[in-house]
């Protein structure tokens, strides 16, 4: 019965209260913009850098750049986010003093650069591998041969024909990856003491505030599902070959 009341409240925006007495929805409203900023920054880093590195590696398959990109991405995937977080925090904030170890409560963009790099690192590695694989596959496709035979410049073949077709799996990945980005945000915001959604969940877990954790993660899962629906709908726009039955 308690559960039904909770679920009923959930859909009306009532998420309960934290142990300190604030409504969960208020805490979330305050925390959400910070996390959105961090996540968008991380998404920007990982997709721009990942697609670029993956494209170059795919075009020069088997060369030195490709081999090192593969090794680096494998290493980045194996090292958990919280370890990368601590190492970068130690090297860049404690030793070199280039960044702050903890982010202030307003969390301006400049202070979020280091946490965003940490958050982006694992997904960056996956995007590099994905882009590389699909670029090298598309390079051998018939439409690329046709485009080259038509006398198009290499630059145009690569950007218009190869890259555009290679981006479909990457966009799919970005949707699924939002889930690991959320887990990463909990860890990263915990390490850098950012007052975002992830940081709040981190503190709630540490303090054993079950209800707060459940409410926040429920909202995160809803966002995740909606984002994936959006990605599915984006497919058709990106790749005319995919059509949903009418």
């Amino acid at each position: 019965m308690q559960y039904l009341i909770y679920i009923g409240g959930f859909f009306h925006g009532d998420l309960g209260t934290t142990y300190s007495g604030r409504a969960v929805s208020d805490v979330m409203a305050a925390a959400f913009p910070i996390t959105a900023r961090l996540a968008l920054l991380a998404l920007f880093f990982e997709s721009v850098a990942g697609i670029l590195v993956g494209l170059v590696a795919g075009l020069r398959k088997g060369k030195l750049f490709d081999a090192s990109a593969l090794v680096v991405s494998l290493l980045l995937i194996s090292v958990p986010t919280f370890v990368i977080g601590f190492i970068l925090q130690y090297v860049f904030a404690v030793k070199l003093g280039w960044a702050r170890t903890t982010v202030s409560s307003e969390a301006p963009l400049s202070e979020l650069v280091l946490p965003a790099i940490v958050l982006a690192s694992v997904s960056f590695a996956y995007i590099v591998r994905l882009t590389r694989a699909s670029v090298s596959e598309n390079l051998g496709a018939d439409f690329v041969r046709t485009a080259t035979a038509k006398g198009l410049s290499r630059r145009r073949v690569v950007t218009v024909h190869v890259l555009r077709n290679s981006l479909v799996p990457v966009v799919t990945f970005l949707g699924v990856d939002l889930g690991s980005l959320m887990v990463g945000a909990i860890v990263t915001e915990g390490i850098f003491n950012i007052n975002g959604v992830g940081g709040t969940v981190y503190k709630a877990i540490k303090l054993g505030e079950g209800p707060t954790v459940v409410s926040f993660i429920a909202v995160m899962v809803v966002i995740f599902v909606l984002a994936n629906l959006l990605v599915d709908l984006l497919y058709a726009a990106l790749d005319p070959r995919i059509r949903y039955a009418k």
């Binding site: 494998l74 090292v79 370890v83 601590f86 079950g210 954790v213 995740f224």
Partner: protein
């Protein structure tokens, strides 16, 4: 399929069309080679396969017999006088904040981390293969129900779901962590198995078995599953690594293994407080963790290349 056959004039080429010479030229002494033999042939030549196998073997030995690698007890005789001290004779990697030996804790922490990863992988693989194979092979209502239930759990990112369950569960052991991770991870394997079985179900050898009068269940067990399981093996290898990371992440958040069980995640968690003064306490368990995950990822990659002839041809 069979209805299609009836409309065809001949099952096989007419006798006078059959190139007898070609049949005669077949060398019957040469054994037919299976996918697995081919895969093994290709794996044998790969350095990444050998490096990862040796690493995994080493990790398994460390997990089973930590006593071979260190005589220093990991959680007794910890002297606070040694707190955060650097390396010295007999204590190669220095001491933790509590004055325990870092190297010994790293060695003894292997067991819990690997157990959780292995257990979760076994549960997920067994359950996913059985459910996926039955759903794909028999289809119908069972398939519909199982696939929709799978969709529900598939929609929740594994670690997020595990955080919720672990933060409310009263007792946390390696078994409960493995079970909780499995709850959210099985649909991935089930989906892959289902798809793989669906495409194997319509192949010629299944039609041949039906024609020979083999029972449906026997065809599934003897012919369909062995031919459909390759993609599952690849995913299972890789997910062993990701389960170990998931356990470490949960332990790092303080809702994984209880503190009295030694694991890399717990050690990294307790090393947080002394990272500025004594980073090696955090670095060494982190290296052990990353190397283990790396080994399983590399093995998964190598096996994928070996089992997937398409990706081999592309190289």
């Amino acid at each position: 399929m069979p209805s299609n056959r009836n409309t065809q004039p001949h099952f096989v080429a007419a006798l006078d069309d059959t190139p007898v010479a070609a049949v005669d030229r077949l060398d019957e002494t040469e054994k037919a080679r299976s996918t697995w033999a081919d895969a093994w042939e290709s794996l044998r030549g790969k350095p990444s396969f050998w490096i990862s196998s040796v690493l995994i073997l080493l990790i398994v030995i460390v997990a089973l017999f930590p006593g071979i690698f260190t005589q220093v007890p990991p959680d007794q005789n910890c002297l606070l006088a040694n707190s955060n001290k650097g390396p010295e004779e007999g204590h190669l990697l220095g001491f933790t904040r509590q004055g325990c030996d870092v190297y010994s804790r790293m060695i003894h922490g292997t067991q819990a981390s690997v157990t959780v990863g292995l257990l979760a992988t076994v549960i997920v693989t067994l359950f996913g293969v059985v459910v996926g194979a039955l759903a794909g092979y028999y289809g119908g209502v069972f398939d519909a129900i199982v696939s929709r239930i799978g969709d529900i759990f598939f929609a929740v990112p594994t670690v997020l779901g595990a955080i919720v369950l672990m933060s409310v569960l009263p007792d946390r052991t390696p078994v409960t962590i493995a079970l909780v991770l499995s709850i959210f991870a099985w649909p991935q394997i089930a989906r892959i198995m289902r798809g793989s079985v669906l495409s194997a179900r319509n192949s010629d050898y299944v039609t041949a078995s039906i024609a020979l009068g083999v029972s449906k269940f026997r065809i599934l067990v003897r012919h369909v599953v062995p031919n459909a399981i390759a993609p599952v093996i690849v995913i299972a290898t890789v997910s062993l690594g990701t389960f170990i990371v998931a356990e470490a992440t949960l332990s790092f958040l303080g809702i994984g293994l209880p503190p009295q069980i030694m694991s890399w995640g717990n050690d990294i968690n307790s090393a947080q407080t002394s990272i500025r003064t004594n980073p090696q306490v955090l670095i060494y368990p982190a290296i052990a963790l990353s190397m283990t995950v790396l080994a399983f990822l590399m093995l998964g990659d190598a096996v994928r290349d070996a089992l997937d002839p398409e990706s081999r041809a592309r190289r």
